[in-house]
Structures are given as structure tokens and as C-alpha cells.
């Protein structure tokens, strides 16, 4: 027998067109399914592998800082293996700690003793000529504290000094304390003046130097004299200002009165301008007879103290890459809960009308068509719509409320379509028996349709939750802030303010971190970490509604 003959039976395999098609289709179907699976797996693997390291890094298992902190600047110290990453708050905490330690060490060291002695001798040498202020500067925050006290008490001093009948005992202070206290007050004023007008810094110093002895031994008679001199000094300032401006050049047009309205050189104009003006003023205001050498010597003796205070902690700083995303998590939760609440209420009501009350006809099919089209509208359009209607027209500003309604409108088609489906899947028998028992239509819906449709409605809403949580475009203009330091429940003046505040949100945060700031490895970390948390959140919310749905299903099975 030839092999050909062998094959001659009725069931012999033949390569027909259908067979070829069949095999090709099978390969195609399987290939495409696997391709989709592969892409999905890659997407999830990408987010999980890159993102989980951000969430699960650190000493403990979970990086709590990332979940509970505000976004901050990341300070990176060192390189490679020894690299330390610190968020701003931790960086400054560390720095302060180091300063304190260094200061403490310095105070204990013999260097401190000699520096201190050196300072004291210089001060005592200058004492007749120069203000005690040098000592105050040297002795940490003494001046600041005392100035505060003096400001509070000045009214009393003045009154007391003016009125011969009152005695110091009336104010429960020792008479001998009064002059020094008033002195401190005056010094406080000088400081303030200097702060406001750093242009005339040197003038203040000069004034203080000339009047120091009188201030020190302040008596009612002296008080008048010093005050007069002080007022004269204040009156001279505009003149000095104009002089310095003249020295600077003709371009400066800001008058003194305008200048004092502003809050310092930075406001005064361009910073560089202010600097030039300052140095010009310094030259003009310095009297020729005034000797700066003593001051310089004093300052030199302060150097060891200054050095002790200075700690260098060299770091590379990356905005938005440190801290955590707590406000964004909270914001997204709030947005989703509110939007879904609104969407479910609106959607279920619409669906009830469509499924139970609406009579089949042109109107109903038009409404359905409109809803279907709504589902196809790109989310950015919803964003613009929400911006136009809620933010601008209703004047809600960028707020939770505006975001809620915008997101709610976006997920509404999903909710309506699915709720209608759920309502229609309730057996007609329930409706009929309810009506036959004497229920009105609404009672019928309320007691024997809606409760049984709820599992279905919830199932569909899960889709809406993921969409509402994930969309960036609708909240970009209506509810999201790139950065906000207050949490939504902080700093409310009235409880209604809660609804009219913007919030941070996870998808918008991802957008900001990945598109709005300079990119580097640390922002990428942040981005994937946020995406990972987002994924967890959506999975969490979805499982919650699935659990709820299953419970309801168990309760209402038929």
C-alpha cells in the first residue's frame, strides 16, 4: 500500500479554506488577548515596582512620612551609597540640632572663655563711647525678649516720668530700674526704625552712640531731651533719604513718603537698586568725624561666636520631591466621596424616572441619546464646563464644591445608564405584587424595587469611583491646588468654608510633579510612589463597594 492509499478514509484531514481560517483566527485571538494581558501586566508592574519602593522604604516597613506628610523640598546630602535624603522639615530640624550641639560644645570649650573675655574687655573699653547694645547682641536673644517687654510697658514709663506725683512703687518696680527699662524701650525703637529703613542703618547707630550716656542715665529731665533728639533724628531721616537718593542718581523717583509705605528695600524697587542705594546712603550719612575702627574691632571679637552658630549642611535641593502626599490623599478621598454622593443621588433619581415613570417615546430616547453622548465627552470639556459654570458664573471659585459637581457630571452617564439597567433587571413581579397589595407607585419603588436594585447600582458606581478619582482634567480648573499647606479641616473661619476651598488631589499631583517642575530621579520616585498609592486607594475603595454590594446581594437574593 502506498501512503496515499493509506489515507483514503472519509475523515482524512484536508487543508480547506475554513481550516486555514480557523487556525489563523485562533492564533490571532490568542495573540491579541495575550498582548492585552502583557500590556496591562507591564503597566501594573511598572507602577508597582517603581512606586512601592517609595511607599515601603525607610526603617520601618512602611514609609509613613510619605503617607502622612505634606509635599516638601527634598534635600539630598552626600553622594551614591552614603546619600541621605531629607525633607525640608527634617533637614532644618537636623540643622538646628547641629547648631545647638556646636553652640553647646563651644560654650564648654576654653575657646569660649577667651572669646568671651576678649569681648568683655573690648566692651568695657568702649563703654563710655558705645552702646551697651554690643553686649546685648553678643548675649543671644536677650535684646529681643527685653524689647518686647519694653514695648508693652513704655506707656507706663512715659506717664510715670511725666507725672511727678506717681512714684515707681505704684507700679511695683524699683525706681532704679526705670531708666534702664526706658533705655531698652528706646533701643527697641531704634531697632525697629533700622529695620524699616535699612538705608539709614548707620545713622541710627550714630544717633545711638551719641545719645547713649543720656539714655543710660535717663531721668525726667533727660527723657525730654532724648525724646527731642529722637524726634529730630526721625525728622532728619527724609532729608537723609533724599541725600542718599541724590547720591545714587536722578533715576530714583520714589519719594520718601512712598518709600516708608513699603516694607523695606525689597519692596522699594529692584533688589539691586536697593543695594546700590544702601551703599550710597552709607557713604553720605557717615560723619567724617565718626570712627568706625572701634566697631570693627568689636565685630572681630564676635567672630568666634558667629562661627559657632554657623553650621554648613551642604545639600542639593529638589522641589516637591520630599515629604509626602497626605493632603493629596485626603483631597482625592473628599473629591471622590462628594462627587459620588452627588452623582448617585442625581443619577439614581434620573434612572428611576427613566425606568419607572418615563413612557417609551421620542422624549425618552432623546434623553438616553443625550446621556450616551455625555459619556463620550472628553474630560477636559467637563473641566472647562465646570470652570465656566461653577467657578466663574456661580462664583464658587476653585473649590471642593465645584470639583464635586464637575466630577459628578462626568460620572453621571455611567451611573444613570447602569442604575437604569439595575432597575430594569428587577423582576416585574415585584412591582406588580407590590401594586396589587395597594402600594402607590413611589411606595412600590421605595420598598420593592430600589432596595433590590442597590447592589447593581453600587457595582456600576465602582466604575465611576475609579474614573472620578483618576481624572485630572476636570479638577485642574475647578478644585485642585498644586500645593496647599492647610489640610481641608484646618483654618476654617466658618464651617461653610469647607466647601469653598481647593484641595490637592493625587492625579493632579502626579501631573504637577511630572510636568510642571524640573525632572530628576527624585521627582520620578515621587511620581511613581503617588501613582502606586493612587492604585491602592482605588483598589481599596472598589473593594469596599464590592463588599457592600455582596452584603446587599446576600440580603436580597431571589
Amino acid at each position: 500500500m502506498t501512503p496515499e492509499k493509506e489515507k483514503r478514509h472519509p475523515f482524512v484531514t484536508r487543508l480547506t479554506r475554513e481550516r486555514v481560517q480557523e487556525s489563523i483566527m485562533f492564533v490571532l485571538l490568542r495573540g491579541m488577548t495575550f498582548f492585552v494581558l502583557f500590556c496591562a501586566a507591564f503597566l501594573f508592574w511598572d507602577i508597582i515596582s517603581k512606586g512601592s519602593s517609595k511607599v515601603f522604604e525607610g526603617d520601618g516597613l512602611i514609609n509613613w512620612e510619605f503617607l502622612t506628610e505634606h509635599p516638601q523640598t527634598l534635600h539630598v546630602i552626600g553622594e551614591g551609597e552614603d546619600e541621605i535624603k531629607l525633607s525640608s522639615s527634617n533637614y532644618y530640624k537636623l540643622k538646628d540640632e547641629k547648631v545647638l550641639n556646636k553652640w553647646g560644645d563651644f560654650r564648654k570649650s576654653s575657646e569660649y572663655g577667651s572669646a568671651r573675655k576678649e569681648l568683655d574687655t573690648r566692651i568695657s573699653r568702649l563703654q563710655n563711647e558705645w552702646a551697651m547694645e554690643s553686649l546685648l547682641v553678643a548675649d543671644e536673644k536677650f535684646l529681643v525678649r527685653e524689647r518686647e517687654n519694653a514695648a508693652n510697658k513704655f506707656a507706663f514709663w512715659k506717664e510715670m516720668l511725666a507725672d511727678p506725683k506717681t512714684t515707681a512703687e505704684d507700679f511695683e518696680i524699683k525706681v532704679e530700674d526705670v531708666p534702664s527699662m526706658v533705655t531698652q524701650f528706646m533701643l527697641g525703637h531704634f531697632e525697629k526704625e533700622r529695620g524699616r529703613l535699612s538705608l539709614v542703618d548707620e545713622k541710627v547707630t550714630l544717633f545711638r552712640a551719641t545719645h547713649y550716656p543720656k539714655i543710660e542715665n535717663l531721668s525726667p529731665a533727660h527723657a525730654e531731651e532724648v525724646e527731642k533728639a529722637y524726634l529730630a533724628f526721625l525728622a532728619k531721616i527724609p532729608e537723609a533719604y533724599n541725600q542718599s537718593m541724590a547720591a545714587f542718581g536722578a533715576e530714583v523717583t520714589t519719594s520718601y513718603d512712598e518709600f516708608v509705605q513699603t516694607e523695606g528695600p525689597k519692596e522699594f524697587g529692584r533688589f539691586a537698586e536697593a543695594l546700590v542705594a544702601y551703599s550710597a546712603a552709607r557713604n553720605v550719612l557717615l560723619g567724617q568725624d565718626h570712627d568706625l575702627k572701634n566697631w570693627e574691632a568689636l565685630e572681630a571679637s564676635l567672630a568666634p561666636f558667629k562661627q559657632a552658630m554657623a553650621v554648613s549642611l551642604p545639600s542639593r535641593d529638589y522641589a516637591y520631591s520630599g515629604g509626602g502626599i497626605f493632603p493629596a490623599i485626603i483631597g482625592t478621598l473628599l473629591l471622590v466621596i462628594g462627587a459620588m454622593g452627588i452623582a448617585i443621588v442625581l443619577g439614581v433619581f434620573c434612572a428611576i424616572f427613566l425606568a419607572e415613570y418615563g413612557k417609551a417615546g421620542k422624549f425618552l430616547s432623546m434623553v438616553r441619546l443625550a446621556i450616551l453622548n455625555l459619556a463620550g465627552v472628553p474630560s477636559i470639556i467637563f473641566g472647562l464646563f465646570g470652570f465656566g459654570l461653577f467657578v466663574i458664573f456661580l462664583d464658587w471659585n476653585v473649590s471642593l464644591l465645584a470639583g464635586w459637581f464637575t466630577l459628578a457630571f462626568m460620572v453621571l452617564p455611567i451611573v444613570i445608564t447602569a442604575s437604569e439597567e439595575a432597575l430594569r433587571s428587577i423582576p416585574q413581579g415585584f412591582r406588580e405584587s407590590s401594586l396589587a397589595l395597594g402600594a402607590t407607585k413611589w411606595t412600590m419603588i421605595k420598598t420593592s424595587v430600589l432596595p433590590f436594585a442597590m447592589p447593581g447600582i453600587l457595582t456600576s458606581s465602582i466604575l465611576g469611583v475609579a474614573r472620578a478619582a483618576g481624572e485630572t482634567a476636570p479638577i485642574m480648573f475647578t478644585a485642585a491646588y498644586a500645593k496647599r499647606s492647610d489640610l481641608p479641616w484646618e483654618g476654617l473661619e466658618h464651617w461653610t468654608d469647607f466647601f469653598f476651598q481647593g484641595v490637592m488631589a493625587l492625579p493632579y499631583h502626579i501631573y504637577v510633579v511630572s510636568a510642571k517642575i524640573p525632572q530628576n530621579a527624585y521627582t520620578a520616585d515621587m511620581q511613581y510612589g503617588t501613582a502606586f498609592v493612587f492604585l491602592l486607594l482605588v483598589v481599596g475603595v472598589a473593594s469596599l463597594s464590592i463588599i457592600l454590594r455582596n452584603r446587599l446581594r446576600k440580603k436580597y437574593r431571589w
Binding site: E432, L435, A436, L437, W558
Partner: protein, 272 residues
């Protein structure tokens, strides 16, 4: 078939009165249409208090439609309407503007072909009618639930599991639960649309017994495809064909000696 067919009823066994009495339901010259499709043609029929009336006829002849007209369940159907004629219950036209359909349905209860208890507990099912009427007192509701379940011959079987889901009951028990649910709102007339068609013979037997029991208190209209059943439970039988009432008479007469050829053909199984 234009004249009304109103044979005097066989009185319920408990009484021997012979005087004609007011019918509980009086249907006169009724035409009924679904849109433009007329499915009931000029039907006139009286149903007397405390009798069991059976509707028989081939599928699609309009039995259910007529039954659902009686408590205006057809209001739910888009485009369903009365062409002409009237239905009076205790002398009141049910389609009159002054009639509140909710009150009508409380007086005219209905049991459906497919037993459809709510997916709630047995207790809640029976109490449903009372609760939607706003009866709050637990004592009253408890009492009524027990009474209804007893009347529906279900009490003994379910008294220990009142709080279990009604879908844990057997098909026959579910149908009796539906009857109990209907009884709880104290109707006078009970309409049953093929109440036993989804039940096995034993369960059917139980429901039939129940119907015979209930007819002492209620007027019952029952649609059935089961000739033996009609024979067993009904006092009178109405035979419909293509939306027309062919014949209505005492059940015995319809089955033993029908006056119309069509009736005889149907009963003897020649068509339908």
C-alpha cells in the same frame, strides 16, 4: 354572542338561598385594547359574592387581560385601554374618576402565576401590605401576620422561621405565602392567574384545598389551563375564545353538557 351571559350562580354550599343577589363584579359589554389590538370583545359577565369563578380558554384568548382589568393592573401597560363597556364592583364603576386605584387594589387582591415573594423575610412579606398602609403597632401586625398565615394554611410550616428569607421556602409554600400576603390586606375579592401552573401535583393540591377553604370568606376568580382543576375548585366556569366569552355556566354543566360546540371541542381537547 352579543347578549350577556348571566346564568344564575350555583350558590356556595353553605347557603341555600335561591333569590338572585347583587353580583360582586359586573362586567358589561367590555372591549379592551392594547394599542390598536383589540383583545377583549364585548364581554359581559357577572361574578357573585363568595363563589369561585374559573376562566378557561386557549392561550392568548384574553383571560389574564380580563382578570387584570378587574383591579386595573393593566393601567401599568402603555397603550392599554378600555374600548367600551364597564366593570362594576359592588355597583361602582372601577374606571370612574372618583375611584382611587390604591383602595380598589386593597379590596381586589391578586395572586400571580409565578410566585414572587419579595426577597425579604417571611414575616416582612406578609406584613408588607400593612406596613405600606402605615400600620405601626407591632402587636396588630404580628396578629395579622399570624392570622393570614393560618388562613393560607402555612402557619404550622413556617411559624418557627418567620425571619428567614422567603426564598428558602418551596415553590408551593411560596405561592401560599403570596396568598397570605394578599389576605393580610383584607381583600374581598381575590384574583388568581394560573396560581398552580408552576407547582407539582402535591403543592397544587394544597393550594386547591386552600382555595376551597377561602371561598367561604372571599370571592375568587381563578384563571387555569387545568380542566380538572377548574372542575375541582370552581362553582362556575367561563370559557373564552379569541377574546370573546363563549359560554359561562355552572362548572358541572360546562364540563358535562356544554351548550356551545366550541366549548365542547375545547374541553374534549379537540383544540387549544
Amino acid at each position: 354572542m352579543q347578549e350577556a351571559i348571566t346564568t344564575s350562580p350555583e350558590r356556595s354550599p353553605s347557603t341555600d338561598e335561591v333569590d338572585p343577589i347583587d353580583p360582586a363584579i359586573r362586567i358589561r359589554d367590555l372591549d379592551f385594547l392594547y394599542g390598536s389590538n383589540q383583545v377583549i370583545h364585548n364581554v359581559s359577565l357577572d361574578i357573585f359574592p363568595k363563589e369561585v369563578m374559573a376562566f378557561i380558554g386557549p392561550s392568548g384568548c384574553g383571560k389574564s387581560t380580563l382578570l387584570r382589568c378587574l383591579n386595573r393592573m393593566n393601567d401599568l401597560v402603555d397603550g392599554a385601554r378600555i374600548g367600551k363597556g364597564s366593570i362594576e364592583i359592588h355597583g361602582v364603576d372601577v374606571h370612574d374618576k372618583s375611584v382611587d386605584v390604591i383602595e380598589l387594589r386593597k379590596k381586589v387582591g391578586m395572586v400571580f402565576q409565578k410566585s414572587n415573594p419579595f426577597p425579604k423575610s417571611i414575616y416582612q412579606n406578609v406584613a408588607y401590605g400593612l406596613q405600606i398602609q402605615g400600620v405601626k403597632s407591632k402587636r396588630v401586625v404580628d396578629q395579622k401576620v399570624e392570622e393570614s398565615l393560618r388562613k393560607a394554611a402555612l402557619w404550622e410550616e413556617v411559624k418557627d422561621r418567620l425571619n428567614e428569607n422567603a426564598y428558602g421556602l418551596s415553590g408551593g409554600q411560596q405561592q401560599r405565602l403570596c396568598i397570605a400576603r394578599t389576605l393580610a390586606v383584607e381583600p374581598e375579592i381575590i384574583l388568581m392567574d394560573e396560581p398552580c401552573s408552576a407547582l407539582d401535583p402535591v403543592a397544587t393540591g394544597r393550594v386547591e384545598e386552600l382555595i376551597l377553604e377561602l371561598k367561604h370568606e372571599y370571592t375568587i376568580v381563578v384563571v387555569t389551563h387545568n380542566m380538572q382543576q377548574a372542575g375541582r375548585i370552581s362553582d362556575r366556569t367561563a370559557f373564552f375564545y379569541l377574546g370573546k366569552l363563549i359560554e359561562c355556566d355552572r362548572t358541572k354543566k360546562i364540563f358535562l353538557n356544554p351548550s356551545k360546540q366550541q366549548t365542547e371541542d375545547y374541553i374534549s381537547g379537540k383544540f387549544g
